[in-house]
């Protein structure tokens, strides 16, 4: 099966920032992304868990983007602008995708 080089970017960010992140990505020309729920985690700002959370304030989401390698930098710049002052992490890995015309 024919596959094509691409990048997989995973951004874990606070739920109240999700709308801003996806808007920034869209403005940077990133049209494909998937949002996954997150149950809990820990980091420099301590542990948290979704259990019994009444408010959106504490929750996080994971945003996954598959993107052509040459567009990566624009994506990262846009993402960085949003996450800069916020907690959360951004990681990038190499991958191959089917149906390259979709990216």
């Amino acid at each position: 099966m024919q596959t094509h080089k691409a990048k997989r970017v995973e951004i874990i960010i606070e739920a109240p920032m999700e709308r801003r992140l996806t808007k920034a990505l869209a403005d940077a020309g990133v049209t494909g992304l998937t949002v996954l729920p997150v149950l809990g985690g820990s980091g420099r700002s301590g542990r948290w868990s979704r259990e019994g959370q009444v408010s959106r304030a504490g929750g996080m989401v994971a945003v996954v983007c598959l993107i052509r390698p040459d567009r990566l930098d624009r994506l990262l710049d846009a993402a960085f602008e949003v996450v800069e002052r916020h907690i959360g992490v951004v990681s990038v890995s190499d991958c191959e995708v089917l149906r390259a015309e979709r990216f």
Binding site: E14, P16, M17, R19, R20, S45, G46, R47, W48, S49, R50, E51, G52, Q53, V54, S55, R56, A57, G58, R85, H86, I87
Partner: protein, 325 residues
């Protein structure tokens, strides 16, 4: 004083308060008891819908009071002013920096709808009626405090991520829309509407509130446990005195407006309560560097339980002493 204590003790052994206590206990004992997030949200949607609808139906039944507009304005002013009071107290009593102090202050200008509901329950239990539009006052008090908090930050020369999007998000926050919307529905459909759905929003209300407070207890308890040591003694003292200060502002407003005994207690409770839903979410966006452990723990772990157990009976006693009741 003796009377206050006895009323408070009476309040303490209600199913509602004990459910909250059970949640706190389970959290401290590290039990794995949890209410799924979706269920907790479902319960809060139910409570907002029911309280809004009943408020609106109340207004429909008793007619629009000349005091309604005055009360709304008073709510706006209280919400905008209380953060300044809280900020001054925090700077005097604690070592919190500008950012954290402003974030905390914003919470105390805004309100906790569950505290409001608990006060309504207590009034119902004692057969004291209140103005239906107090629900609308609660709704208008949610947001202005956030602006005051951000202004406190900007004034000090630090940046706050305030944009038009955030303003819209704050005002069109889900809980505000649901509360105001169901208030409007209750008002429009009136007693007839209430009759149609009262076996859903009136009869089981207290029971649903128990489960919701169980969840609040779990969240507050886990928050307190995780953030042990985050709050200094000064902050805890603030969390216990600020509601008493706030309630006096509420009392003054109620006396000025000439509210009923029930309305006065509710206005005091609103002023005394602190937000733990709308404001934290806004703060995460606008003041990401402020520490959420501080404001969430103070609001949900200190002030909320205080109001639920001792605060409300105290406000009721003060109001009764002044207005006679």
């Amino acid at each position: 004083m003796g009377e206050i204590l006895s009323l408070a003790a009476n309040n303490l052994i209600s199913p509602i308060i004990l459910s909250f206590a059970l949640g706190v206990f389970a959290a401290f004992a590290r039990s794995d008891l949890t209410i799924p997030e979706a269920v907790a949200k479902g319960l809060s949607i139910y409570l907002l819908f029911a309280i809004g609808f009943k408020g609106g139906a109340g207004v429909a039944a008793h007619g629009v009071d000349a005091k309604l507009v005055g009360s709304l304005v008073a709510g706006l002013v209280l919400s905008a002013v209380l953060p300044f009071v809280a900020f001054a107290m925090l700077r005097a009593m604690t070592k919190l920096g500008t950012l954290d102090a402003a974030a905390v202050a914003g919470h105390y200008g805004s309100i906790s709808i569950v505290t409001f509901v608990a006060a309504t329950s207590l009034l119902n239990g004692r057969g004291i009626s209140s103005e239906g539009y107090m629900v609308a006052v609660a709704a208008v008090m949610e947001a202005p405090a956030i602006l005051s908090a951000l202004w406190l930050v900007v004034r000090s020369g630090r940046g706050a991520d305030m944009d038009a999007g955030l303003m819209r998000e704050i005002l069109l926050n889900g809980s505000i829309v649901l509360l105001v919307g169901s208030f409007a529905i209750g008002w429009i459909t009136g007693e007839e509407g209430l009759a149609q759905i009262s076996s859903f929003i009136v009869a089981p209300f207290q029971g649903v509130l128990c489960l919701f407070l169980l969840d609040m207890g779990l969240v507050a308890g886990r928050g307190l446990r995780e953030s042990r040591g985050v709050l200094g003694a000064g902050a805890v003292v603030f969390g216990l005195t600020m509601p008493l200060v706030g309630c006096l502002f509420g009392l003054a407003a109620a006396l000025l407006l000439g509210l009923s005994l029930g309305g006065t207690v509710l206005m005091m409770t609103l002023a005394a309560s602190a937000s733990y839903i709308a404001v934290p979410a806004a703060m995460r966006v606008a003041l990401p560097e402020a520490n959420p452990s501080i404001y969430l723990t103070l609001s949900l772990g200190v002030t909320f339980p205080f109001n639920l157990t001792l605060g409300i009976p105290i406000y009721a006693a003060i109001a009764a002493a002044i207005l006679g009741g």
